[in-house]
Structure formats: structure tokens, C-alpha cells
Amino acid sequence: MSYNSEMNRVIFVSGSSNSGKTTLIEMLIPRLRRKGLRVGTIKHAHQGCEIDQPGKDSWRHAEAGASAVTVVAPNQTALLVQTEKEMALGQAIQQMAHHADLILAEGYKGTQGSKILLEPEAGKSIEMDDAVCRIGVQVDKLSSNELDQIVAFLLKNIQFITVQLVLFAQLKELFGEERLSMTLPKGSTGHAIIAWLLQKKSSLERLLQVSRLAVNCEYVSWDHVLQHGDEVALILPVSGG
């Protein structure tokens, strides 16, 4: 999986401090979720982060020198990795790739890419070209209509591909279809197919764990990057002979 393909699904939310970046992200996430998208976020924390609480078991593991600590709870999982220097943005995105269709990255002011720029002093409400959406007012002054325009900008800037999923055996029976058309963000891998299917039928988890991925009639790894127009099949354990 190359970083380039991952960068296709990132939009930066930039602006000086107190310009309303976090508030805007809070306003956008529910609107994107209503479109069926899973939204990931990245916070660029120059001054370090204090996610773990001193004294907690996980904190003590890290203090003792663990290079990575994972805390697994019933409804969320936290991964804290110790890095010598700041993790590259592409790598940070890759960590979340299986869990998000679109990623909003707060900060990263100088980085190239599609972005929402907050300039609350500018006075002009919204101005957008192909890759930049400028917001010139306080974000709490944005109308519902203007927020919809920003969502449309985000969707236009995340490129999507369509693949055909062919279904066999129990999958065909469960979905009652032989073929499904799926729209995914460009750069999606086999993991996105699994996530999509599990969202529809969570009971599939065990079956999918023992399945293989085929793209255009060849077995490929789950990290295989899908292309527009691909024919994709989940090969459940076979039983010919």
C-alpha cells in the first residue's frame, strides 16, 4: 500500500489557533456519517499528547519502556506507539486506513493537499476552488446550507472508485444477490470490502476470517489496492472435488 494512494482520502483542516478547526470538524463528522462514510481524524499535536493517565496500568507499561501499548476495551481500542521522531503523516494515515473512508487532519498547515482553510478575520463566508475551501467567518456563523456546501467539497475531493463484488455460496444466500456494486474511496484495499460487509452483516466475521480475496479472478493479499472497475470476490473456504 503506497502512501500516495492513502493521501487521496485526506483533507486538511488548517488555520491559526482558535480559528475553529476542532469545532468545524465536530460539525462535519455527523454530516459525513449520515452519508454512510466512516470518518477518521488526525490531530497534529506539536506540544505532545497526554492521552494516557499517569498511574494507569497502560501508562506503567509505557513508562517501563514498552515500544507500543494497546489497550483493548469492549467498544474501543487505543494504540500508543513510542516514536523517536514525529511519525510521517502517510504512516499515521495508514494506521487508520482500515477504519476510515475519509480522514480529516487538523493542523499540518504547510502540507500540500486538499484543504479547508479557516480565516475567520477575512469576512467572506465561503470561497472554494478545486482543492481549497476558504472559510472567512467564525465557524458557528455557518448556515446549514453552507455546511452542506463544505460536505460537497469534501466528497468531491475524495476520489471514489466503483468495484463489482461477486457473491458465492453462503454470501450469495445471505445477501440474496449474485453481484453488488460498491463505491469506495480511491486507494481502498481488501480491508475496505471486509469492513463494508461487516457493516451490513456483523455475523459474517468468523466466515470472513477464513476467506480469501480475489481480484479479477486472481488471489491477492488483503492489502491489494483496488482499481475502478475491478471484479472482486470473497472466496469462502472451497469444497470442490
Binding site: F168, E173, L174, A233, G240, G241
Partner: protein, 141 residues
């Protein structure tokens, strides 16, 4: 192009009738036959489903791999799809080789690889209850 999958019965005579290669001194055949019992249930028939374009391509690749590995000239594969009754032949592998060891080894390899990698699924129809959903995943023989 050879078609490895067939809806009708497999006519093994066509394989037998083909001229043998003068370099070969051994012929080994594997016939898979539908059993009348599956996990304690009496089977009426099996229904084989395939992802046909991929199955054809995959069998073709495995046949080439087998030929190359044992330097064979003649390899035959046919697999039924659709409904196959108890006692009927569901798969045939035919191998001809200079000596019996290559023929047996290649045959063993090829049927194993087909059972592992070719996207074909069987669904047994048993007496009384129609096995579906979870039950349709019957581990290979």
C-alpha cells in the same frame, strides 16, 4: 481453450481414447465420487457452485504447474458443476508420465491443489432437512 468445468456427466472415455505419448509408461487416474453420507446425514445429491471464470483459470494454471513440475505431456481434468447424484463422478484427474512415481505424485498434488485453491463449493441436499446457511459449509472430504 479447454473447459474444465462441465454441467453434464464426465465422459472419461474421451481421455482414454486419446493417443498416449510414446514417452509415457504410466497412467494414473483419480475419480472423486459423491458419497451417500455427509456428517451422518443421508445425502440425496450435491449441488456444486463455481466462480466459473476464476475456476477455469485456476485449474488451467494448476495443470500447467503440475506439467512443469513433473515434466508431463498429458494431464486431464474435469469437474462437474450443478447437481451431481450419489455414486456419480464429480471430478476426474488423469495423469500420464514416463514412470509410475511421477504419475502418482503429480496426481496427488493436483487433486490436493484443486481442493485447496479452486473456487468451487458443494452444497449437500440431505434427506428430510435441506441443509442451508451454516450447514452448507461442508468441509472437504
Amino acid at each position: 481453450m479447454v473447459e474444465y468445468l462441465t454441467r453434464g456427466p464426465i465422459d472419461i472415455e474421451t481421455w482414454h481414447r486419446q493417443a498416449t505419448d510414446a514417452r509415457d509408461g504410466a497412467s494414473v487416474e483419480f475419480l472423486g465420487i459423491v458419497r451417500g453420507e455427509e456428517e451422518g446425514h443421508r445425502v440425496q445429491y450435491l449441488d456444486y457452485e463455481a466462480y466459473s471464470p476464476m475456476a477455469e483459470r485456476k485449474i488451467g494454471a494448476l495443470v500447467e504447474e503440475t506439467k512443469k513440475k513433473w515434466s508431463l505431456h498429458r494431464v486431464y481434468v474435469r469437474h462437474r458443476i450443478g447437481r451431481v447424484g450419489v455414486g456419480e463422478v464429480s471430478v476426474v484427474i488423469g495423469i500420464q508420465a514416463p514412470h509410475r512415481k511421477e504419475a502418482f505424485d503429480a496426481c496427488q498434488f493436483l487433486i490436493g491443489a484443486i481442493k485447496r485453491d479452486v473456487p468451487i463449493w458443494k452444497k449437500p441436499y440431505v434427506d428430510r432437512t435441506h441443509v442451508s446457511e451454516k450447514g452448507s459449509l461442508v468441509q472437504r472430504a
